[in-house]
Amino acid sequence: MTVFAVVAAGVVMVLAVVLIVLALVYYLVSTIVALRKINAGLDEVISGVGEIVEKSAPVNDVVNAINSQLDAAVDVLEGLLVKKAGMRDAMGLIEGMYPGAAAAGLRNFPESGSVDAPRIGEVYTKGTLSLARLGRAAPIAALSPQGAVLRNVEGGSLAARALYPDVRHTTPEKLPQSPVIGADAPEQYEQREDIGAPRKRFPASR
């Protein structure tokens, strides 16, 4: 009886240990398989990230170079505009083309934000006529390319109108008259015989 009990207890213990080992083997092997998949996935990630790093490496330098070039262009254009048109007219031109942009001001001219920008319409006389006199094929040069430079910025719009090949601004003595309309008009646009004739009388009905 005692021997049987000892053997039984030993068998149960061995069975328990075997079960524990089997559980360890199953879960650890499964974990190893999962970790190998993770390892393979991380290899792909590292490869992709490496490509990203390699491809994006020159971006900083290139973008900085482009920005510096564009900064230089902005400097040139702002300087030229302010030099040629003056600060007030320059802001007026900017406001005319991009409403609201004058409030932001020019980058290289901090005081430009506080300038009271004038309203400048489609025709800006200062410089435009100079270009016209230089032989540009601008319509503004069609009438008097040899005329004086327009300096009156306040009345520039009216003055510039004189440059166009129109006749009304010259206040001619006689302009073509407007057509006369009505029954007495010399030219009747609707030729009908019954116009001006007595009204037809229809026989009275009973």
Partner: protein, 89 residues
Amino acid sequence: MTLWWIGNALLLLVVLPIVVYLLNGVLQSARSIVPSVQGIATVAAAGSRDLDAVALLLTTKDQVEQTVAGLAGYGTSLDVILDDAERQS
């Protein structure tokens, strides 16, 4: 003998479930990482493909340089031309 049986019972009823529980937790955690890593790998590959056009930035840079050089030349010429025209008037 009694202690032996108690030990056996502890092995089967306590130690084995705890081992299974802990190992199962580790396995589930490891398995849950796999799809995430695969998703990251896909995104990284797509991001790498998206950056294929970065090489064109060098062309953009060259063109910007040429444009700005032309702009500077044009601005300088315009400056001189307008000065001359105003002097002549």
